[in-house]
């Protein structure tokens, strides 16, 4: 009988080391565009495309940030974006959780077919539904208002319905049954028993909805016409037009503005990172 050779401690260590090196290399690669944005936002215009590129701007042109917030009515655009983003976040999370609860807990004829249909709507590219949706909203007189950007979120999002349903299936039914025996309604159970246990999944939905809505360019471009209703992303486009108007794109100022728009995304993601990881792992992993 052969004696198994003892494991060399160098083997796993080397493997871990290589994994870390690969991850760090990938991390650097993926963060390069953001680093370039940061560096360019602090350069003078002529240095943005200088060859060879200087990654460390000397001196630092902080005035680019001041110009980024003064060249356009940023506070107005920020307010408009918040006015759209907050209701969309709440409505998407609420409606998706309600529909997902129905799919997770109720038995009714055609439930699985309905769920499959709900998932199938994810396969439809936005370009296919763009004109019919626009026609509908135009008929309602909602063009150039925020309604086409907010109201659809009241009807759930198929991906989040899927995510939350999967998460709800992992929650034991004991406490719900106890609440039923106590006379609580289904809606009360959903609100007071299920949702508190689904915080990681809800955090994931809220954060991803925030990212999608905050960064949405095409929706506001399509439905908004008045400059005073512009969101931050449309504002960035106006800034591009601003400099194009004189034939010059001030890339350094544009990068400063883009970083400012990006900042809430990064902050929110950093704050909610722990919940998102858990929410995704428990929801999709089932």
């Amino acid at each position: 009988m052969r004696t198994p050779r003892p494991l060399s401690p160098a083997g796993p260590l080397a493997r871990i080391g290589l994994t870390y090196v690969a991850l760090v290399a990938l991390g650097v690669l993926f963060s390069l565009p953001v680093v370039w944005m940061l560096s360019s936002s602090l350069h003078e215009l002529a240095a943005v495309f200088a060859q060879p590129y200087r990654w460390r701007p000397v001196p630092l042109h902080w005035e680019n940030y001041a110009r980024a917030v003064t060249v356009l009515p940023v506070s107005r655009f920020l307010l408009n974006t918040v006015v759209i983003t907050v209701p969309v976040m709440l409505a998407t999370a609420g409606s998706s959780a309600l529909v997902a609860y129905g799919f997770a807990r109720f038995r009714f004829p055609g439930r699985d077919a309905l769920f499959a249909l709900c998932l199938a709507t994810m396969m439809l590219p936005g370009q296919v539904t763009m004109i019919p949706l626009y026609l509908g909203f135009a008929r309602l007189g909602w063009v150039d208002t925020y309604l086409p950007l907010i109201v659809p979120s009241l009807f759930g999002s198929p991906f989040y319905i899927f995510l939350l349903r999967q998460f709800f299936l992992t929650i034991p039914r004991d406490s719900e049954e106890a609440a039923l025996l106590e006379g609580a309604s289904r809606l009360r159970i959903w609100w007071s028993v299920v949702l508190p246990q689904a915080r990681p999944a809800l955090a994931t939905v809220l954060v991803f909805t925030f990212l999608g809505t905050w960064n949405d360019f095409f929706g506001p471009l399509l439905y908004l016409n008045s400059p005073e209703k512009a969101t931050l992303t449309l504002g960035l486009n106006l800034m591009k037009a601003q400099v194009l108007g004189s034939g010059v794109i001030e890339w350094n100022v544009l990068m400063a503005a883009s970083l400012l728009v990006l900042l809430p995304n990064v902050l929110l993601f950093a704050l909610a990172q722990r919940h998102i990881g858990r929410g995704l792992a428990l929801g999709v992993g089932r």
Binding site: A46, Y134, L135, A241, V243, G247, V248
Partner: protein, 442 residues
């Protein structure tokens, strides 16, 4: 008492009904990309326009093809909007654009437009579907200090392609250890080759349906390739991959000469080096054929409820609105002098001479936008461009590109035949397209 109140109410209702009628809504929606500065300027100006004409202009500064199509589908197309040469005729053929000819011919503005602007406005059915609001020529921007240091006299209107090549050789500064040059003599973006073809007297058709590459065009391709092979011009693909604006090459000292649009506000505002601009070089003893290009423009939606007001607004934007003045599309404007007044740093650069030469030796617009009908521009370019990319990369020869022309045209004919079967095509357009296709050389 009660009867008295009723009488009073009746009288009030009658008075309201008999009062002066509400002024009809004369708002014209103008959709085009604009900056906040443009928006503010137009809002300031439109107050005067409103007082003079009673027309209120509402600017919608968010534009895009998808948005435009969605608005049209919903019957909410803006009254006046920007169209480029690639989509204008397609929209016109579907009946979505107003033929402006009746209003244009009755308006003194139309007679003030440069001939090439009027020519670019006309489509295959002789309709006028857009008016350009900008036109430009092109020239060779050069670094004066580099010329002086190399002991080369600044280029003049008499210089030739051979002079340009000789200057480019002397201005190219070798890199360390035989690497890439520290400075290239010249950079000519590939889309300006069309202007060089015209300078070499290539017989370029206007609004052609099919591609032709006459010997004069082939000579220019070969000359352009020679600059690349000799290493006096940077690799076009590398410049594109770096995402560099051509002006940055000149500003940063990476090239000593650059072919670009004249006037080019971006270059005017960002170049801090000592620069001048010269006309395109002649090809041998051939007479110069400079050009001005007027492709995109403003159109009016066929569904506008107030076509006369829409035309009045369009005419105001092109011919009067201070935001767009001095406008080079107007023949009676001394554009060179007016532009120099707007940008004093242009004085002494040679800009005025380049512009005036383009007026004296106007060869017409050689660009693909005009050279091909908007029907066939995309079918031609999607097939020709890969060949040109291979040519500039040294992976194909000029002879191979020429040999590919029949195959390219066969594909274009197939595309056009498909377009002819489109149910949305209006009969007049269908007939005009069929006639043009039948007359096109085999």
């Amino acid at each position: 008492m009660k009867a008295g109140r009723l009488l009073l109410a009746g009288w009030a209702l009658l008075a309201a009904g008999c009062g002066p009628p509400a002024a009809p809504d004369r708002t014209i929606v103008y959709n085009c990309t604009a900056s906040t500065a443009d928006i503010a300027a137009l809002q300031r100006e439109q107050a005067g326009f409103l007082a003079r004409t009673g027309i209120r202009v509402k600017l919608n500064p968010f534009s895009g093809e998808e948005k435009l199509y969605a608005m049209m589908a919903a019957g909410q197309a803006p009254d006046v909007f920007y169209t480029n040469a690639a989509v204008r005729d397609r929209l016109a053929a579907e009946g979505r654009l107003l033929d402006l000819r009746p209003w244009a011919e009755a308006d003194p503005l139309y007679a003030r437009l440069r001939p090439e602007v009027r020519a670019a406005a006309e489509s295959i059915d002789r309709g006028v579907y857009s008016l350009s609001n900008w036109t430009h020529t092109c020239g060779v921007y050069y670094n004066r200090a580099a010329f002086a240091a190399a002991g080369i006299a600044p280029p003049t209107s008499a210089w030739t392609w051979a002079d340009l090549v000789a200057a480019a050789r002397r201005l190219t500064v070798a890199g360390p250890a035989g690497g890439r040059p520290e400075r290239y003599g010249v950079f000519i973006p590939a889309h300006f080759i069309e202007a060089l073809e015209q300078m070499n007297h290539a017989p370029l058709p206007r609004a052609a349906l099919l591609l032709s590459l006459p010997p004069e065009s082939q000579e220019v391709y070969a000359a352009y390739l020679a600059l690349l092979r000799e290493g006096v011009m940077p690799d076009v693909r590398r410049v594109q991959a770096l995402g560099m604006q051509a002006g940055q090459l000149l500003q940063s000292g990476r090239v000593a000469m650059l072919v670009e649009a004249v006037p080019h506000p971006g270059l005017i505002e960002t170049l801090t080096i000592d620069w001048g601009v010269a006309p395109l070089p002649r090809f041998g003893a051939k007479a110069p054929l400079y050009f001005r290009s007027a492709s995109g423009g403003l159109s009016v939606s066929a569904s506008t409820p107030r076509p006369a007001d829409a035309w009045r607004t369009l005419a105001w934007l092109v011919g009067e609105a201070a935001l767009y003045q001095p406008n080079p599309v107007l023949a009676d404007v001394d554009f060179a002098r007016a532009w120099e007044a707007k940008y004093p740093r242009l004085r002494g650069t040679g800009f005025a001479e380049v512009w005036r030469l383009s007026e004296q030796h106007a060869g017409g617009d050689p660009r693909y936008f005009v050279r091909f009908a908007s029907w066939s521009m995309m079918p031609v370019m999607t097939r020709l461009q890969p060949w040109l990319d291979r040519l500039w990369a040294g992976e194909a020869t000029v002879a191979e590109v020429v040999a590919a022309v029949p195959e390219i045209n066969a594909g274009v004919r197939a595309d056009l035949a498909r377009q002819l079967r489109s149910p949305g095509l209006r009969p007049a357009w269908k007939a005009a397209l069929e006639r043009a296709l039948a007359e096109a050389p085999p």
